[in-house]
């Protein structure tokens, strides 16, 4: 029948290329397949019937399906491009040099110690894990259980497959390249609409490729090939093969995963050369996803050799592989007969076809009789025999009677078609049960969707083609283009008879009747779940794990739901289905991540002088922007560098890159009135050239941001929000302007990135600024603290603010960003003789802590108001309304019991952020009344200092408190928050 290396390969036929053999390995054994094989078909051709072990009982598992519906055939694959720890053998095209390994079974797939669990099966039914392993602790058992379960092991050293992403739009997306999809695309081909047809197989045709029906006087497969050739030549139609539509989202947005495969050659390795994740937005959608066949439920139905009838047909017709030498068929509909005829045609012996229906189509029975095949009607299979391979089945008449044993090494099951409606469900459409086809079909379709063929409801081929044509016409009408010229072709198909639903065998042990093959969920498990009250379909799923495997219950859900319905006396409509969510099939996380890894993990924002900071030895930290945290040039380690940087600011000069600080220009005749509504300080009195610090609150009175506001002139102000909130503040200003105060004549321009900003701080700040030779007077009298000047340096526009975050004399110099590096270099040159230093974020924040300045986000939380941080007088002094004012007047906000910001001086130990202030000085466990928000050792003061939010803090100055942190106690004194130069003499100098 076939070459010795491929004992199950049929002599001829199939779409494989027999001139191109491909060598591969399975579990270390060298094997051979052909170009066009899947890993599954190649393994079957080589006589492999045992492919995996089940999840729970480690029962032997064979190939049930031929593609993504197969719950059993999970393998790991290493190809020429990468490694996959768990993929379905039927979904992977064979390539030369592939290393395929089974992912279950220890020490080997054939001899699996885990199979001993089968002997304890009666004790470890559904819910076993929920009821046991609780004492003393689940984690005690977890490692062992994890070792015996799961699929595949991740290889951290393996290369990922190359990946990319692509975004596109189209007028029509057709999902599925079977008969209905091809017909729709053909009908739309000349419409001028941009059509994308996506199919998960390498070749269009779907079930036409293994159908014996004739279309338009030619074979279905040939018709599909002709149509694909025509579509490939159509300018407006793009055919995406090897592409799975993995998710459907709002606005007809879809994700598609396209694979690019190479067979392998001496010049290039074989395997998945790359993957492309598409994000596609479509105008109209045609769902032509077809259906999957479901198995029948009876004792021993999980034995290797039992296979879906559709898979048998595909393996025979597409891959030229016979899954058995003697193949029986068990069916409740016409599809089973097609498998029998295909097997006979391929030279496979068919001992019997068992049909639960009393009267199958006469033509089928006559054809079987002519081939000397027994057709046993009104009967069912109730058991199987064999070890790791089927060797026979037991058949009885429905309702009981004499048993007969039939020898076979393969059994094709056809329990009916289950429409693939997952994508409509992604959009929230609930499938509805249709009794005449014994299947859940799409409910209300999303807008601009059309379901055709089996995806709409199991139907004949001619019905599918007509639906496709109708869908194309409807789309053309909607788009206002000419109706299609394409007409549905004639189909030569024997009229069929209805399916007879048959959800489980009438006799046999329920614990041997498998519903979910991967998770070992049996009829008995469902019975137990019902007994324990889990009668909701969602509860049943979670209690039994029905449908929770990697196949997402494609072959098991409907059978399970039907059994649940019968056990609870409900009909299928009442039971409903579980919720289908994206992705439709497994997608590698790497494909989703795309290029978002390594340095591209997320967009980094760099300051204009980044490169110069790198050269200066900066150690960066991500504060939303990559900012220097400290400089290696200032010390051997972080602490030493930070101390040196702080000392430079206090004694000579520090240069700090503050470019990320927000810069928002508010312009117009009403700019002052507008800004005044956001800040708690009175900004209407701010004079041109002057600066004022303030905080901004939400409607709840809680601090949202702080910063300085500069009055350039009466019609132009600069708001300086924190770098973290720069974008948010600009958006907030714009939102309120548009929605609440459209009458105010205000323009808002966020220009943060346009300017590089450097602060020079320390006693030598003025001489440093003067050395830049700005075209304005920088003397203390002409340029006092909290004032602003605009001018030029070397002809370059410059904006300088005299403000201080450190407590020292300080100027912030802003130049257009392209000059940022130049300014930094000049400042370094000027400060070098005076031993000035570059200052990182850590030193900068510690300097402000010594000065007692607020750091929003550190020293505030989701409750902190301006009243809590000592701005009560400012708030009280502002008569005009502002956002949050009403909330600040409430008794809750005014309460003296609130947490208030104060300083802490440690009397023993080191304060640390997060330390809890213990109530009444008690020892834990006890109530706490606040926490440390900022803390550091102050080199200037020689003690550990901190800021803290403490209940009634403002009235407790001088009180000693105990602070608990990570098991240690620190004694501290509550003090005013300003530790350094409380008279502000230095910053005014």
């Amino acid at each position: 029948m076939a070459a010795p290396s491929n004992p199950y390969r049929v002599g001829e036929g199939g779409l494989i290329d027999r001139t191109r053999p491909l060598a591969f390995h399975f579990n270390g054994q060298r094997m051979q397949g052909y170009a066009g094989d899947t890993v599954a078909s190649a393994l079957i051709a080589n006589g492999v019937s045992l492919i995996a072990r089940s999840f729970k009982y480690h029962r032997p598992r064979g190939f049930l399906g031929s593609g993504l519906e197969d719950p059993n055939a999970m393998v790991e694959i290493r190809d020429g491009y990468g490694f996959d720890a768990a993929v379905r053998a039927g979904q992977v095209r064979l390539a030369a040099g592939m290393q395929v390994r089974s992912v279950s079974g220890w020490p080997s797939l054939n001899f699996d110690i885990g199979a001993l669990a089968g002997y304890a099966a009666k004790f470890i039914k559904a819910g076993f894990y929920y009821k046991t392993f609780m004492w003393p602790n689940w984690h005690l058992y977890e490692p062992l259980i994890r070792r015996t379960t799961g699929f595949g092991r991740v290889d951290a050293n393996a290369r990922p497959h190359p990946r990319r992403q692509h975004h596109a739009t189209c007028d029509v997306l057709i999902i599925g390249g079977g008969a209905a999809g091809i017909a729709t695309a053909s009908a739309l081909g000349g419409s001028g609409l941009r059509v994308i047809l996506a199919d998960d197989q390498p070749q269009l045709g779907g079930s036409l490729l293994w159908s014996d029906i004739e279309i338009g006087g030619t074979s279905a497969a040939a018709w599909a090939g002709d149509r694909q050739a025509a579509l490939d030549g159509a300018a407006a139609v793009q055919v995406l093969t090897d592409t799975v539509v993995t998710g459907a989202y709002e606005g007809n947005m879809f994700t598609l995963l396209q694979s690019f495969h190479t067979d392998g050659s001496p010049e290039a390795p074989g395997g998945i050369a790359s993957e492309c994740l598409w994000k596609l937005r479509a105008g109209s959608v045609v769902l032509a996803t077809g259906s999957v066949e479901r198995p029948l439920v009876f004792a021993g139905n999980d034995r290797p050799g039992v296979m879906l009838a559709s898979a048998v047909r595909k393996y025979l017709a597409v891959h030229g592989v016979a899954p058995a030498r003697e193949l029986a068929v068990f069916t409740n509909n016409d599809a089973g007969y097609a498998a029998a005829f295909a097997a006979l045609k391929a030279g496979v012996r068919v001992p019997a076809v068992i049909d639960v229906r009393d009267a199958p189509p006469k033509e089928f029975m006559q054809r079987l009789a002519a081939a000397s095949v027994r057709c046993i009607t009104g009967a069912e299979v109730i058991g199987t025999s064999g070890g790791r391979q089927l060797d026979g089945i037991t058949v009885v008449p429905l309702g009981g009677g004499a048993r007969q044993h039939i020898r076979c090494d393969g059994l094709a099951l056809s329990g009916g078609a289950t429409p693939l409606v997952h994508l409509t469900a992604h959009r929230g459409s609930k499938p509805v049960y249709k009794a005449d086809v014994a299947a859940f079909v799409s409910g209300d379709l999303p807008e601009d969707w059309h379901a055709v063929g089996d995806a709409c409801s199991p139907c004949s081929l001619s019905e599918a083609l007509t639906q496709a044509h109708d869908a194309a016409r409807a789309i053309c009408r909607r788009e206002g283009v000419a109706a299609p010229e394409f007409s549905p072709p004639d189909v030569a198909q024997t009229p069929g008879l209805p399916i007879q639903a048959h959800w489980r065998a009438g006799t046999g042990n329920p614990s041997d009747m498998f519903v979910d093959f991967q998770n070992d969920v049996t009829v008995q498990d469902i019975e137990l779940a019902v007994l324990e009250g889990y009668v909701s379909v969602e509860h049943l799923k979670r209690y039994t794990t029905l449908g929770m495997g990697t196949d997402q219950g494609r072959t098991s859900n409907i059978n399970g739901l039907a059994i649940l319905a019968a056990l609870t006396g409900r009909d299928m409509s009442e039971v409903g289905t579980t919720t289908f969510r994206p992705p439709y099939t497994a997608v590698r996380l790497g494909a989703i991540a795309g290029d978002r890894q390594g340095p591209l993990f997320r967009p980094e924002r760099l300051i204009p002088a980044h490169a110069l900071h790198v050269r200066a030895g900066a150690v960066f930290e991500d504060f939303g922007w990559q900012r220097p945290d400290w400089y290696r040039s200032n010390g051997a380690d972080r602490e030493a560098a930070v101390r040196a940087e702080m000392a430079a600011v206090r004694s000579t000069l520090g240069i700090f890159d503050g470019s990320p600080l927000g810069k928002i220009e508010i312009s117009g005749p009403d700019a002052a009135a507008f800004l005044d509504r956001f800040y708690v300080s009175n900004l209407r009195t701010l004079k041109p050239g002057r600066i004022r610090y303030s905080v901004m609150t939400g409607e709840d009175g809680v601090i949202f941001d702080d910063g300085v506001v500069t009055c350039v002139d009466e019609t132009l102000y600069l708001a300086g929000p924190t770098s973290a909130h720069a974008d948010e503040v600009a958006n907030r200003l714009e939102r309120w302007r548009q929605t609440e105060w459209p009458e105010l004549r205000v323009g808002i321009a966020s220009v943060t990135s346009n300017w590089a900003s450097f602060a020079v701080a320390g006693p030598r700040a003025r001489t440093t600024l003067a050395a830049l030779q700005p075209d304005f007077d920088v003397s203390n009298a002409a340029f006092p603290h909290m004032s602003y000047r605009a001018g030029r340096i070397d002809g370059i526009p410059v904006r300088v603010s005299r403000i201080s975050f450190t407590g020292e004399l300080q100027y912030e110099i802003n130049v257009p960003a392209r000059y940022g590096q130049g300014l930094m270099r000049r400042l370094m040159d000027i400060s070098e003789p005076a031993c000035g230093r570059l200052i990182g974020m850590e030193a900068w924040l510690r300097l402000r802590l010594e000065k007692g300045y607020l750091h929003v986000g550190s020293d505030t939380n989701g409750r902190t108001t301006p009243l809590d941080i000592g701005m009560a007088r400012v708030v009280a002094g502002k008569h005009a309304d502002f956002i949050g004012k009403r909330s600040l007047a409430l008794a809750y906000a005014q309460s003296a019991d609130r947490e208030q910001l104060v300083g802490l001086r440690a009397e023993s130990g080191q304060l640390r952020v997060g330390g809890r202030v213990l109530a009444d000085g008690a020892m834990p466990p006890c109530r706490t009344e606040g926490y440390v928000t900022s803390a550091c050792h102050s080199p200037t003061l020689g003690i550990s200092i901190g800021l803290a939010l403490i209940e009634r803090g403002h009235s407790r100055l001088g009180e000693r408190v105990r602070i608990f942190d990570s098991g240690t106690i620190v004694d501290a004194e509550i003090c005013p928050p300003v530790f350094y130069d409380p008279e502000n003499e230095r910053l005014q100098a």
């Binding site: 990319r164 992403q165 692509h166 975004h167 596109a168 739009t169 941009r194 994000k279 937005r281 290029d595 978002r596 340095p599 591209l600 997320r602 967009p603 980094e604 924002r605 760099l606 300051i607 204009p608 980044h610 922007w625 990320p660 220009e665 312009s667 117009g668 005749p669 009403d670 700019a671 019609t715 132009l716 105010l744 004549r745 205000v746 323009g747 808002i748 321009a749 220009v751 990135s753 346009n754 300017w755 340096i793 070397d794 370059i796 526009p797 130049v815 257009p816 960003a817 392209r818 000059y819 940022g820 590096q821 130049g822 300014l823 270099r825 000049r826």
Partner: protein, 178 residues
Amino acid sequence: MQSRSALTSVPMGDDLDIYEETGHAHVLCTAALDAGIIAAPLGRALGVDVPLAPGPVMVGEDRAAMWLSPRSWLIRLPEAAEDQVMQAVLARFPERTVHASRYSDQLCWLGIEGAASADLLAAGGFISLERDGLPIGHIKRTLFADVPVLIWRRAQSDWSVAVERSRAGYLAAWIARI
């Protein structure tokens, strides 16, 4: 002070030419009134009409005006004209009912040309680059490679992509990776 552009180099391919566009200045005009009231005088001050709707870029002799929002426009002009235009806007609108902000350094402009340019843009952005999605001469604000950008289609396969300067390095690295 030495000027420095945001990017020094971007890798190029045979069917793709990517370069940093320099030599232009940009001014951001923000209106405190409805555009219909100020559009005409603003156009005279700028030397180019400002578009009143999203999409088309108004191109003048040596400058162009791009719609950013109902009350803001980005003006591209020769570097030498930057100060003059800012003064002209202030002179025309002394109460700053329109305000011109320096914007030349806010954005880094990448020119992307060549047969593979559309594929590159489709890899990083989800707007339609088809004829009806982004016609020649139109500009859109969108996300590209997860960062906000402006994409201006100047010809069939000739695009200008503006990214905030702080993110230019990331975008260049992303393009190089693609």
